[in-house]
């Protein structure tokens, strides 16, 4: 399947600032690939380089194996769905969608049938005569999609296309986008800062920070087995704690010390340093009655319960001084913890992960 994108040692500098700082990524054809990161991490710049709006300072972009260095944007077989949609305001839906086909000198008859087909794909049949200004945000979004897909590109680039929509519509369109991608079977490169969006739709995610790729993996792996502190922190809420490595137990078993408490971490591997960080997801932490003893348990005190609707979030201060977030699903039962209650915090070894790389800042070699 065509639509293979390769980024090789890609660098983009604006003056002295490296917006993209040496990226290597491979997106096989027909993949839903997301670039996830905070604003300023270089994800949009990378996308704009693939589209051809920015020229790489260094490195190569290969599209189906051919170098794109001297190919201007209008000659690339990629299309973009812009964050602001960029629908031409003086043209109606039909003319917007037909714009690209007319540039390709497709016959009038074919234009008509392909526009109709594209509008059907995004469920906008019947709105051909509307101007963009007369449509809702969600409808404009669909027009932008139809306008790009009608050209049957090898790769579709999407720059935070759901960013301007309200939460409910966004959820609905996430599902539709994923279905659409499977239906048309082309590569989607999706840029977002919303981790939930990336997790629900992507085949693979590249988590980016400061112009570099932190981790590339499937959604589950990125969430469950974050490689770096940044990834662990950026994807959902994580409890990060400083820890000292006591013994390295080989394959996925490390004994660490947090404050004066010893814990078994069942996942991840300690790096070279003995000072490291351990991480656990809030939904994996369990609260037990005060005084319960056993391995991987630290006494603590409820500092603040927060009602979230579908769950109860508790901030618990451990005896080691760290604050841990605990998430208890709302199953209809009353959650008995109040502010100031003493509790025992149980962090199961199989949910506790040692991070090999302790930060985005490069660690000086000793």
């Amino acid at each position: 399947m065509a639509g293979e994108v390769q980024l090789i040692d890609l660098v983009k500098r604006f003056g002295d600032v490296a917006a993209v700082d040496g990226i290597n990524l491979e997106m096989p054809g027909a993949e839903f690939f997301s670039m996830l990161g905070p604003s300023g991490c270089g994800k949009t710049t990378t996308l704009r380089m693939i589209a051809g709006f920015e020229r790489p300072t260094e490195g190569q972009i290969l599209l189906d194996g051919s170098d794109m260095q001297f190919t201007p944007p209008h000659k690339r077989n990629v299309n973009t769905v812009f964050q602001s949609y960029a629908l031409f305001p003086h043209m109606n839906v039909n003319d917007n969608v037909a714009f690209g086909l007319r540039r390709q000198k497709v016959s009038k008859h074919d234009i008509k049938s392909r526009v109709a087909e594209a509008l059907e794909l995004v469920q906008l049949t019947g709105l051909e005569r509307r101007k963009p200004g007369q449509m809702s945000g969600g409808q404009q979004q669909r027009v932008a999609l139809a306008r790009a897909l009608v050209l049957k590109p090898a790769v579709l680039l999407l720059d935070e296309p759901l960013g301007a929509l309200d939460a409910k519509l966004r959820k609905q369109l996430q599902v539709e986008l994923k279905a659409l991608q499977q239906q048309v079977g082309i590569t989607f490169v999706y840029v977002t800062h919303d981790q939930e969006e990336a997790l629900t739709m992507s085949d693979r995610i590249a988590v980016m920070s400061n112009g570099k790729v932190e981790q590339v993996a499937e959604p589950q792996e990125v969430y469950e087995e974050p490689k770096t502190t940044f990834v662990a922190d950026f994807l959902g809420v994580s409890n990060l704690m400083d820890a000292t490595v006591l013994t390295r137990g080989g394959e996925g078993h490390t004994r660490v010390k947090v404050g004066e408490f010893e814990l078994d971490a069942g996942r991840g591997e300690a790096g070279v340093e003995s000072e490291t960080k351990i991480v656990i997801r809030p939904e994996r932490v369990r609260l037990e009655d005060h005084g319960t003893t056993g391995p991987n348990r630290i006494p603590g005190m409820v500092e603040r319960p927060v009602y979230l609707g579908n769950a109860m979030q508790l901030l618990v201060r451990l005896a080691s001084g760290d604050i841990v977030q605990v998430l208890i699903q709302n199953a209809g039962e009353e959650i008995p913890y109040k502010q100031g209650d003493p509790v025992t915090v149980y962090m199961p070894a199989e949910a506790l992960r040692v991070l090999a790389d302790t930060g985005t800042a490069p660690i000086e070699a000793a």
């Binding site: 051809g52 000659k75 812009f82 629908l87």
Partner: protein, 307 residues
């Protein structure tokens, strides 16, 4: 009875508290500013209206009204039409304005696109230099153009062509400022989208950028026409004598010699022409920006300078 009394009491209390409310609340609806604004408008418009009125006077007097007539516009040798000097001045003014619009608008639009899209060294200073004609005193511009055409490019000398070039020189800046403002507000996204969909640079310009710039182009035409019609200093310096005299020059010279109703008449014609241009420009602007959400008004687009 008692209810009635208490009602009127409540009424007076309300009036009192309302009065106190708007005296005591400086952030409420302004009351004095509109009054002052209206006073100013009357003050600045009434002399013009009086001048227009007396251009229709049936006698020579500019102070005593003796009935309606178009004798100063049409007919005898003292009317605008009957006086060769006056009507050739009118045609000269219109000719200059039309040539100015035809030359300055396309050049200004292209210059604005170039300047707005130019990134890198020299872009900032060039953008600043474009404003230079706007802040240079017109008399300085007039004198320098006179020196240039009179001593360096002597082929041109003082002529209608020199006047046209002079008008174009300073009106281009207005076009650039108006068009560039709109370019910045529409951003690069539409051009990028066009390129992304396979449009060449030329197609993107013709099919996307120019239609989106149309309101600014219309505003530019109206402004260029109005300031060219209005111009005195540059037209005067580059004038070749009688045949190059424009309406402002004629008005200036005759008004000093002794006021004539025909001077009023030709001035009124100028007011009508300018008014028609601006109103037509405004209407077209409204037509072309219809359906644009959150876009500014033409006055907003033009607020960049004080005209």
């Amino acid at each position: 009875m008692t209810t009635h009394a208490s009602a009127s009491e409540r009424q007076s209390f309300n009036a009192w508290s309302r009065a106190r409310g708007w005296l005591g609340n400086p952030w409420g609806r302004p009351r004095f500013l509109p009054a002052i604004t209206w006073l100013y408008m009357v003050w600045s418009i009434v002399p013009v209206l009086i001048a227009i009125q007396f251009s229709f006077n049936n006698s020579r007097s500019l102070t005593a009204w003796s009935g309606y007539s178009t004798r100063w516009y049409w007919g005898n040798v003292y009317s605008v039409w009957g006086n060769t000097g006056l009507h050739s001045a009118l045609f000269q003014s219109l000719k200059l304005a039309a040539a100015d619009v035809v030359i300055a608008t396309p050049l200004g639009v292209l210059l604005a696109i170039g300047l707005a899209r130019w990134r890198g060294r020299g872009a900032g200073s060039s953008n600043f230099l474009m404003l230079f004609p706007l802040i240079t005193p017109e008399i300085v511009m007039g004198v320098s153009l006179f020196l240039v055409f009179g001593h360096i490019f002597t082929v041109i000398h003082t002529s209608t062509l020199a006047q046209i070039l002079g008008h174009v020189t300073f009106s281009i800046s207005y076009v650039v400022v108006i068009v560039r403002g709109r370019l910045f507000s529409i951003g690069r996204q539409y051009e990028e989208a066009a390129a992304d969909l396979g449009a060449s640079w030329w197609h993107a310009l013709r099919l996307i950028l120019l239609p989106l710039l149309l309101p600014a182009i219309i505003a530019s035409i109206a402004i260029t026409f109005a300031i060219s019609i209005d111009d005195f200093v540059i037209s005067y310096y580059l004038s070749c004598g009688g045949a190059c005299d424009t309406v402002p020059i004629i008005i200036y010279s005759t008004a000093r010699g002794g006021p004539q109703p025909s001077t009023n008449a030709i001035a009124s014609i100028m007011v009508f022409i300018t008014l028609i241009t601006v109103v037509a420009g405004y209407l077209l602007y409204r037509v072309f920006t219809r359906g644009e959400s959150g876009s500014g008004s033409m006055t907003g687009d033009l607020a960049a300078f004080d005209l």
